[in-house]
Structure formats: structure tokens, C-alpha cells
């Protein structure tokens, strides 16, 4: 188990050559991972691989540890009091603890967007600049990156003429796409999305879904959701979690077919899990 600052007290995976090779094949490799808040075990002994490209949905009922798992991938859960974990997470071939002594580097390589749109109380442009602050870029270079990211997030056309406006003046859906664009500025290899459509209207939600699908063609997108229809629309891979454990994982085709396990089928058809 590790403390809230992420210092490992128990390493369950040895750094063998085969483990390293496997880690390099997938964007994220999680082994024997358990997460705790105080003494409460939220995730129990989970092992999984997240592919380098494509959209992977972490599906399951509320309170099953999907967000907690996601938040440990870039160690943002360290910010939560009493949070600790045991096990091993490899991100882009490096152990999140040993390979990234400077956690900011890990976070720059793994963009993250949260459930609630959270824009900073400054202009749209300054919001976008936040992620670029440690790069020595000229104004024109920074502007080009920002424009590219806003275009990738499918929001450029809507806000190009008002980049100096306060970001808070945008609608919730636009704010969320701005948050995605802000994460894309970092050119991350992995994008972590924690229910990004949960608090926005269906039209904006669909725009984000299209965006996620297109992003999945180039990078690894890991998205937490409990929206089954959404999972069906956008996912390439699905991991079904219940009660802190992986019930089943596989391709979308497999998970939404009659070949999936009974628990998965029950959840998908009845949105209910009796774990």
C-alpha cells in the first residue's frame, strides 16, 4: 500500500523484462491494483491493459471505483485526502511512481478532463495558455498550438472571434469542450475523461462524443461512463467494473453481444448490477 503522496509501501509487480515489454505495448498497464480511501477498499486487485489507440470506456454503476481508477493513472488522486493504493500502474512504459519522480511530467503526458466543466476565471485564451506555460514558445507558436487544439476540440469556429472573452461566458457544453482543448494543448498520449458529458445537454454531449471518437484514432482515450448507450456509440474497448472489481472486459462488439457474461448482459440490458 502507498500513502497519499504515492510512496509505495508494497510493490506487487516485479520489474521483469517481460513486464516492461508488455507495458510498452499498451498505453497503460495496471497490475494487481487496489485503491483505498482511509480503510475503505474502493478497487480490489484489478489488472488490465489499455491500448495505445482507441476509446476505452470504463463502464459500471456509480460508486464502483471507475473514477478512482482513472484518477490514479495520472496520480491526481494524490490530492484527495486519505487516498492510497497498492499495486502497480505503468503509463507509457514507465511506472507512475518510479518512472515519474516529477509528477507534472506524467500529467503533461496524460491529459485529463473532469465531470464538471471547470474553466479558470480568466480569458479563453489564457485558459488555453495554462498548459503551455513551461514551454519556451514564441507568441505565434503558442497561438498556433492553441488554434490547433481548439479546432481538434471542435470549438474553434464558435469562439475564434472572442478568445479574449472570459471563459466563464461560454455555455457549459462549450466550457467542457474548452477543457478538452486545454488538455489537448499538451499533446497528450493518453486522454483521461471522467464522465465528461454528465453535466451537459444532449447536443453538446453528442459533439463531445464525436470529438472523442476522432481523438481515439490517434491517442488512447480512457473514458469513465455509466451511460450504456454512449458506451455503445463511442467505445472500441469496454471494461465493465462492479463493486471495485473487473467483471469483464473486451471489445465493444463482444461486450454488447450475447457472448458476454451474464452480469454484463444484465447490466447492459437492465442497467442494474447485483454485485
Amino acid at each position: 500500500m502507498s500513502d497519499m503522496h504515492g510512496k509505495p509501501q508494497l510493490a506487487l509487480v516485479e520489474n521483469s523484462a517481460s513486464a516492461e515489454a508488455a507495458a510498452q505495448a499498451s498505453a497503460v498497464q495496471i497490475r494487481n491494483f487496489s485503491a483505498y480511501y482511509g480503510k475503505n477498499c474502493i478497487i480490489s486487485d484489478v489488472s488490465l491493459d489499455l491500448p495505445e489507440k482507441g476509446v476505452t470506456c470504463l463502464l459500471g454503476p456509480s460508486g464502483t471505483g471507475k473514477s478512482t481508477l482513472l484518477r490514479w493513472i495520472n496520480r491526481i488522486n494524490e490530492e484527495t485526502e486519505n487516498a492510497s493504493f497498492s499495486g502497480n500502474i505503468n503509463v507509457l512504459g514507465l511506472d507512475v511512481l518510479e518512472g515519474y519522480p516529477d509528477v507534472t511530467e506524467l500529467r503533461r503526458r496524460t491529459g485529463m478532463v473532469f465531470q464538471q466543466p471547470c474553466v479558470f476565471p480568466c480569458s479563453i485564451y489564457d485558459n488555453m495558455l495554462m498548459g503551455l506555460r513551461n514551454r519556451k514558445l514564441s507568441k505565434s507558436e503558442a497561438r498556433a498550438i492553441i488554434e490547433q487544439s481548439l479546432k481538434s476540440a471542435a470549438i474553434w469556429d464558435e469562439i475564434a472571434h472572442r478568445l479574449e472573452d472570459p471563459a466563464t461566458s461560454l455555455s457549459l457544453g462549450q466550457q467542457q469542450r474548452l477543457c478538452i482543448a486545454r488538455a489537448l494543448v499538451l499533446k497528450p498520449s493518453i486522454l483521461l475523461l471522467d464522465e465528461p458529458t454528465a453535466s451537459i445537454d444532449p447536443v453538446s454531449s453528442r459533439a463531445i462524443e464525436d470529438l472523442v471518437i476522432s481523438l481515439g484514432e490517434d491517442i488512447a482515450v480512457v473514458m469513465v461512463t455509466h451511460n450504456i448507450a454512449q458506451t455503445k456509440r463511442i467505445s472500441d474497448h469496454v471494461i465493465f467494473l462492479c463493486d471495485g472489481k473487473i467483471v469483464e472486459q473486451g471489445t465493444r462488439k463482444h461486450m454488447f453481444s450475447m457472448r458476454s457474461c451474464e452480469k454484463t448482459r444484465t447490466y447492459i440490458t437492465e442497467e442494474f448490477c447485483d454485485c
Binding site: I76, E79, E81, T104, F114, R182
Partner: protein, 305 residues
């Protein structure tokens, strides 16, 4: 009447007392607010009326530095300067320490430890000022005299240090409140962009908390300005401007210490008494201005900045 209508009528009858209670509560709150405003207005008006004798009397040197009641000299500049000077010293001491401690507590410590530290600080804020004054006389006074090789430590600097210590808990706890009030999601979002902790504070947290911090500062200054007993015991009570002007090692006087010492000695209705009342009018005006300003900052939304 149908059964439904009867039920509706019953419900309306039941609702009436509730609305009456609401009205009564509203009236009570409004009455209290009006009463508070009336009391403050009456105080200001009384002070102003009582100040008239000195304002109407001719050559009293009110805007001067000489204070000699026997010769009709009531210069308020020295105590006014003393009040402001002591307040500035207190600010210079309390604000950096308070701000850095608040940042340390709110940004790096667990909520459990934060609550513990804040409880202790709030206890400190509640200690009567005379206790601080006694500590000032017994220890601070002597330490300052030893440090600067002075005959007496009853100087403006000692009063400023003591006031700084006194306002520190108030400033610190309100500043910490302002910092903690910035939602955690801002920190998480900023850190998920690969920003360092100091960058998160400088660019995300502080801009949102600064109005609250300014309000905390002004509220603490209001307390510093109004403090009487502790200052009176350590400032030296000398009715003159320091020489050179910004020499903190000279004895001085503040409006409050002046009032504390002389109100009992002056005859009610005399010009001397009136001059003291005029000084208190100025003090109250400054304190009210600071309070209004702090209220403005404390209630201002970060997005208004």
C-alpha cells in the same frame, strides 16, 4: 364543496400561520437591521454634535501637532499620525507572516490539521487585548529596549509589533478561509495540466482568493486601528510627531491611547472634551470606511475581479 376543495381549503388554512411566521421573521430581521443603522447613525451624529465646540472655536490648532489643553491647543495630527504609523508597522509584521502561514495551512496540510490550527488561532483572536498589553509591558517592552539599546521600550515600534501579533490570528484565519473557499476542482484541473503547486497557487488560487484576502486585511486593520489598552500600555504616550518623522524608535501616541488617557480628565462639555470626541469621530469614520471596504471585498465574487 367537494372533498378535494375541502382538502385544499384545509391546506390553505394550515399554510397561513407559516406565512405569518415568515412575515414575523422578516419584520424582526428588517427591524434589527434598521435598529443597527439607527444606532450607528446616532453614534456618529452624537460624536459630530459633541465635536462642534472645538470645530466652532477659533484658533485651536486642530490641524496641528501641538496638544496643550491649558493653552487651548488641540492638534490632532500627532495621534492621528501615530495611529496610522502603528497600523502600518502592524501590517508589515502581520500580513506577510499571516499570508504565508495561511498558504501553508490551506495548500499543504490535511483538513484535520487545518481545523486544529484554526481552532488554536481563533482562541488567540479571542484573548482580551489587556492580556496582550500586559505581555507587551512585561516582556516585549524590555526585549525591544535591549535590542535597540534604548532607555525605554515604550515606543511606536513596540506598539506596532504588539498590534501585529494581535491582528495576526484574525488576518490569518480569514485569509485561510478565503484560500480554502476556492474549490478543490480548480486545483485538480490546474494540476492535471502539469502545473506545479506554486504555479497553481499563483495563477489559479490567489487570483480567486485575493478579494477575500484584501477583505481579511482591511478587517484586521480595523481592529488594529481601534485597539486601545494594549497600545496605551506600550507606546509611551508622547504627544508629538516622531523625529525624524518615520522613526519607529521614538515614543508616540495613537488616537485610542490618547482617548484612553484623557477622557477621564476632561470636563464634559469643555473644548478639551470636544477635541477628544472629534478625534473619536475621525477614528470611527476611518473604522467604518475600512469595514465597508472589507465587506465590499469579502462579498465580491472572484469573477468580478
Amino acid at each position: 364543496m367537494s372533498a378535494t376543495s375541502a382538502l385544499k381549503a384545509k391546506a390553505l388554512l394550515k399554510a397561513k400561520p407559516a406565512s405569518k411566521r415568515r412575515d414575523a421573521t422578516k419584520a424582526y430581521c428588517q427591524g434589527s437591521a434598521v435598529l443597527s443603522i439607527v444606532i450607528v447613525s446616532v453614534i456618529l451624529l452624537t460624536l459630530l454634535i459633541q465635536s462642534l465646540p472645538v470645530l466652532m472655536s477659533g484658533d485651536n490648532g486642530l490641524i496641528g501637532t501641538q496638544w496643550n489643553p491649558d493653552e487651548g491647543q488641540f492638534g490632532i495630527i500627532a495621534p492621528l499620525f501615530g495611529s496610522v504609523f502603528v497600523m502600518i508597522i502592524a501590517t508589515v509584521i502581520a500580513f506577510p507572516i499571516g499570508l504565508l502561514t495561511a498558504i501553508y495551512i490551506s495548500e499543504t496540510r490535511s483538513s484535520k490539521l487545518r481545523r486544529l490550527i484554526k481552532s488554536i488561532l481563533e482562541l488567540l483572536a479571542g484573548i482580551p487585548s489587556i492580556v496582550y498589553g500586559l505581555i507587551g509591558v512585561a516582556y516585549l517592552n524590555i526585549w525591544v529596549a535591549d535590542l535597540f539599546d534604548l532607555q525605554s521600550g515604550r515606543i511606536i515600534l513596540t506598539a506596532g509589533i504588539l498590534l501585529g501579533i494581535m491582528i495576526l490570528p484574525t488576518f490569518l484565519t480569514l485569509t485561510e478561509d478565503a484560500l480554502s473557499a476556492v474549490p478543490q476542482r480548480y486545483r485538480e484541473n490546474a494540476k492535471s495540466l502539469g502545473m506545479y503547486r506554486h504555479e497553481v497557487f499563483k495563477d489559479i488560487i490567489f487570483p480567486q482568493a485575493k478579494v477575500g484576502i484584501a477583505g481579511a486585511g482591511l478587517l484586521a486593520l480595523g481592529r488594529a486601528l481601534g485597539e486601545t489598552m494594549a497600545v496605551m500600555l506600550v507606546i509611551g504616550s508622547l504627544d508629538r510627531l516622531p523625529s525624524p518623522l518615520f522613526n519607529p524608535l521614538s515614543s508616540g501616541q495613537t488616537i485610542t491611547s490618547k482617548l484612553g488617557r484623557e477622557v477621564g480628565e476632561s470636563a464634559f462639555g469643555s473644548v478639551h472634551f470636544s477635541a477628544l470626541v472629534f478625534m473619536s469621530f475621525i477614528l470611527v469614520s476611518i473604522t467604518i470606511a475600512l469595514t465597508i471596504l472589507s465587506h465590499y471585498f469579502l462579498t465580491r465574487k472572484p469573477s468580478d475581479v
